[in-house]
């Protein structure tokens, strides 16, 4: 790694940290600006409410609250739930929910990545035939149709009509109930990856080094997988960002449809029941995940292809 690469990574790291801090401040302010008291229990009298607020430290000035929050956060303490799960530590609630969402997202990326690559290679090798058209149609549909529509259709087909999988998530059968949401989530990934792989494969197959490789008399398997695909897959790093965004919105809605107790469902429920500490922790986790992934993508792309220096190349 050269000095400039390190400098670039350092700069990106700094920007990410600043961004994370800005996000935390904004989130904190928004949550504090929410109308009404964070304790939503109608039966409490004014004095009782004041006592509870004092116990949680909600009566202190907002700056002190923020400093305390950040201090606690650095030790892994995200406060406790006020309404939904009385006094449960938010860190463990969010942690267990995030584990499920993360597993689903990861499975969708792996399944979608493999199938999408195969579909893209297949389409590129059968360029301008009916198979290519078919693959293109599949990927355009996959990109355009929102994942919750897929989740719904899969649910109607497999759970309601064929009774293969349970309609709602059950903790008894975590693997069986994960199949449908993962299927729904991976459709978008397949479509994105296939579309991109096809374009890249076509341009790589037309390049001169492929003609040379063919002239050397390599068999088509080595030709496709060793020479073409390896080069075609490098730029796929660029679409990981959009895929990640799709997956994040995807998990929120798909979890709602399939009743999965993941991060998305926790965030939606906490918003509906005004549980501020959970809202804060979930949104922050979403933002942090996004920023970290973007950082990894940018940096790895800068290392793979040093011509790309984001934010620098266009000035």
């Amino acid at each position: 790694m050269s000095k400039s690469t390190l400098k670039y990574i350092g700069k990106r790291l700094l920007i990410s940290l600043v961004t994370l801090f800005v996000i935390l401040v904004v989130l904190f302010l928004i949550v504090k600006l929410l109308p009404g008291s964070p304790i939503n229990n109608e039966r409490l009298s004014e004095t009782q409410r004041a006592a509870i607020e004092a116990r949680y430290g909600l009566d202190q000035p907002i700056l002190t609250q923020f400093v305390n929050y950040v201090k606690n956060m650095l030790t892994g303490d995200f406060g406790v739930s006020y309404n939904m799960y009385k006094d449960m530590p938010v860190a463990s609630l969010v942690g267990s929910a995030a584990k499920i969402s993360f597993m689903y997202g990861l499975s969708a990326v792996i399944i979608g990545g493999v199938l999408g690559t195969l579909l893209g290679v297949f389409a590129a090798l059968h360029k301008n035939t009916i198979w290519d058209t078919l693959a293109t149609v599949i990927s355009v549909i996959g990109v355009s149709v929102p994942s919750f529509v897929f989740a719904m259709m899969i649910l109607i087909l497999f759970a309601s009509k064929l009774h293969i999988f349970p309609t709602q998530y059950s903790s008894m059968n975590p693997i069986g109930s994960s199949i449908m949401p993962v299927m729904a989530l991976s459709v978008g990934v397949i479509a994105n990856v296939a579309r991109f792989t096809r374009t890249e494969m076509v341009s790589v197959m037309n390049s001169e080094y492929m003609t040379l490789a063919k002239a050397k008399g390599l068999d088509s398997k080595t030709l496709i997988f060793k020479h073409a695909l390896r080069n075609a897959l490098i730029p796929v790093v660029t679409i990981l960002g959009p895929i990640l965004v799709n997956l994040m919105t995807g998990t929120m809605v798909v979890e709602k449809i399939c009743g999965v107790p993941g991060l998305g469902k926790l965030l939606i429920n906490s918003i509906l029941s005004n549980d501020v500490n959970i809202i804060l922790a979930c949104s922050f986790l979403y933002a942090a995940m996004y920023i970290v992934m973007m950082l990894i993508i940018d940096v790895s792309y800068g290392i793979i292809d040093p011509r790309i220096r984001l934010g620098k190349e266009d000035s």
Partner: protein
């Protein structure tokens, strides 16, 4: 010579037809056409894009006229007509409150389209201004504006939208506001990139040499040269806005009842979709077709107007 030729008698089989020789042909010089005619030509070759355009027109027409022409109203509650499956009287059935879904669907499509168009309109204004200033003036201004934009851009749209609608009371205006708040960045990036390219061109230099002021150069020289990229970006943003509106409604932060948008209809249908699948399926299909059409149309437009944008 002539006398010799006259003496030769030609027979029918003296000459043999060698078939079409593709490699011997006259170069056809394409007649010069205006750029927009060329673009229409390329666009109409693209079947998917034309189908997309036709579907968009059909959906827009239905969204405008179907509610007017129907005898039902979108918010007519009728408890005696609850959850009727699609039939001749109620083409798409009724919902759990006895409201006609055909009318509700197209009213919903109308509102979804309206929200998307408004949001994208604001995006264009804000994004273009930001991109033009940042790209044209460059230097310190550009650096500062780019850092700000980078920070805003790294907050996921989903978190911004969700939190914003939590604080503001959900209504048509707030949804449009929330959507435009997150979506202008894409526009400003495209505009900035194009401005950086165009401002180095010689005609800009010529204009400056003639004494033109920045204002004139930006609006008369640069802006007309980046219209096609902006149109493409607009067409790409509309399906995005439609999707995010549906997403917001689906997580329960959409338009308040009795208003309908495609998202709220899907959300309402979701409550009972295992019993009455049509309530959710029909709006979901319309939403998907709409997004698909816009994507196909946008792709076709991009290939016709500016093929180099494919990389972005």
């Amino acid at each position: 010579m002539d006398a010799n030729l006259k003496n030769i008698e030609f027979l029918p089989d003296d000459f043999e037809f060698v078939g079409d020789k593709q490699d011997i042909s006259i170069d056809v010089v394409a007649p010069a056409k205006p750029a927009w005619k060329e673009a229409i030509g390329i666009f109409s070759q693209n079947k998917g894009a034309v189908i997309g355009l036709i579907m968009i027109i059909i959906i827009v027409l239905l969204a405008i006229f179907a509610p007017i022409l129907s005898s039902w109203e979108f918010d007519d509650l009728n408890t005696s007509l609850q959850s009727i499956s699609p039939n001749l009287e109620h083409w798409f059935g009724t919902d759990t409150n006895g409201r006609d879904l055909w009318v509700r669907l197209w009213t919903g499509a109308r509102i979804s389209l309206f929200i998307a168009v408004c949001a994208v309109f604001i995006d264009v204004i804000v994004g273009t201004t930001y991109g033009l200033i940042s790209g044209y003036f460059g230097g310190m201004v550009d650096s500062v504006m780019q850092r700000i934009q980078e920070i805003i851009n790294s907050i996921p749209t989903l978190v911004v939208l969700t939190l914003l609608l939590m604080v503001m009371k959900s209504s048509l205006t707030t949804i449009v506001f929330a959507l435009s708040l997150t979506e202008w960045i894409g526009m400003s990036r495209i505009v900035r990139a194009q401005v950086l390219k165009v401002k180095e061109e010689e005609f800009v230099l010529a204009s400056r040499t003639l004494g033109a002021k920045s204002f004139f150069i930006i609006f008369k020289e640069i802006l007309p040269n980046i219209y096609s990229q902006m149109i493409i970006m607009i067409m790409m943003s509309i399906p995005n806005a439609i999707f995010y509106e549906a997403y917001l409604s689906f997580v329960g932060l959409g338009l308040p009842v009795p208003n309908a948008s495609l998202g709220t209809l899907i959300n309402d249908g979701f409550e009972s979709f295992l019993v009455y699948p049509y309530m959710m399926l029909i709006p979901a299909v319309v939403l998907s077709v709409l997004m698909l059409s816009f994507n196909l149309f946008g792709d076709g437009l991009r290939d016709a107007l500016d093929p180099t944008m494919k990389e972005m």
